[in-house]
Symmetry: C2
Subunit: 291 residues, 2 copies
Amino acid sequence: MSETKDFNNILIVGLGLIGGSIAKKLKDISYSGKVFGLDKDIDIVKKANQDLLITNDNNIHIDSLDELLVIFCTPVLSFKEALELVLTLKPSDEVIFTDTLSTKSQILKILSEEFIAVKDKFVLSHPIAGSEKSGLNNSKKELFDNKVSVISPHETNDLKDIDRIIKFWNQLGSKTKILSANDHDVIFAKTSHLPHVISYALTQSLFSTFHEKTFEFSGGSLEDYTRIASSDPIMWKDILVSNKKNIINSIGDFEEGLKQLKHLIENQDEDGLVTYLEQIKVLRDNSIDKN
Amino acid sequence: MSETKDFNNILIVGLGLIGGSIAKKLKDISYSGKVFGLDKDIDIVKKANQDLLITNDNNIHIDSLDELLVIFCTPVLSFKEALELVLTLKPSDEVIFTDTLSTKSQILKILSEEFIAVKDKFVLSHPIAGSEKSGLNNSKKELFDNKVSVISPHETNDLKDIDRIIKFWNQLGSKTKILSANDHDVIFAKTSHLPHVISYALTQSLFSTFHEKTFEFSGGSLEDYTRIASSDPIMWKDILVSNKKNIINSIGDFEEGLKQLKHLIENQDEDGLVTYLEQIKVLRDNSIDKN
């Protein structure tokens, strides 16, 4: 049996879908270090404690915070407050920080401007896994299995710390890829944040016409297509605000593409439409096979 | 065991995903009438014949076309040519026509202007079932199970004929709902055609930046979200052209919604964003439960 302990103690900050899933996976692999958890909702802390996911049952008294990994799993704009709370608990010097947040540049900025000592020991990461269902109740141990966790090292990170964070995500079942914080935010503005924005706008546009009858005449794909519009509003408000510039750019690119297609439809340009649609189909089918 | 025969003969015109799935379901329920099939690709006709889905093995010689149901499963803009082909086969007077096409007004217009005798015996229908995978190879007998087939009767349809078409779709496993051709096209422009247009434009916008690496950093939802952009290009070109007016209107409504959301993001209006996102989540979650 392989050694599952890499940190004596793990502190999960935010016991929602992601934090809860980390705790469940650690329990599942019988992680031999101690696991603690914080949440602004004290009932969630108690529930996680009752389910034997975490050792503590409150947000205030946590002992043995030596040789520690702290993982932030809060909405992006709650990060600073959460970090300040963790620092009041006075973890020992032997601590590494990471996170699971969906935008990276804003976190790096906060660290650079206000928490420079923490920054050196903070290896940013983002597991590309989630669900439109939020909260501890919807968390599940297999959430990270075979998913990709993006690691975004910065210039003052220690290589050894980066390796430990990579190993940690591997233990949780995910592969890892490296992307700078800036590249991360540019890419995810397009591949994740833009689809959410579109899904919200589509759902809103349908509901303003059909109200509660929106899904009466859909064959299933509309449910899929609007699924992410049921995501957690606070989490997504924070993402949209914290990655504003990249998201606005992505919306602009998308609007251009939509205008092009609209133009082909308006002109009933059958040849142009077939070329456009076929090209997209070929590109998509080929790339899906490769990934 | 219930009687499965309602028509002596069934002629499926177009043996793609939909036509093939009808043939497979009829075989599965041991439909006791004869099933014939036509396709512009003669190899598909031969394949369907070999698989014992249809009785004929060519597009020219088909006997016993009395007491017949003809079902058109072609792309929308191939309908007229397909109907002309069927009429050259000289079906008897005891014939009812239906279809599975995704837009209805254009079909009704062709019938009204050029095939008035056929029109009286033509009950328009549209099973709300499909896949981004097209062709006979991807067809499956359970495609219509528990799905809704929309029936769009017109003013010169016979009530008895409408009932027979409803019963036919029930035999294939689907429920039925009634919508006028015009209402059908207005509604599906929003609930189906618009999501396809958006998916095409999104996929195009992503590929123009990331090329074959588009799915490298996505957690699965992007695959779902762009799935329908892999749909059959000819089928969708025909839908976009034949329902142009309604689709252009739907795109306009969507663009308005997108502009609103973009405005909230640009202004970093956190309260406005939470209200917007939360309202959509509540509406969607409640409607999904109801349908």
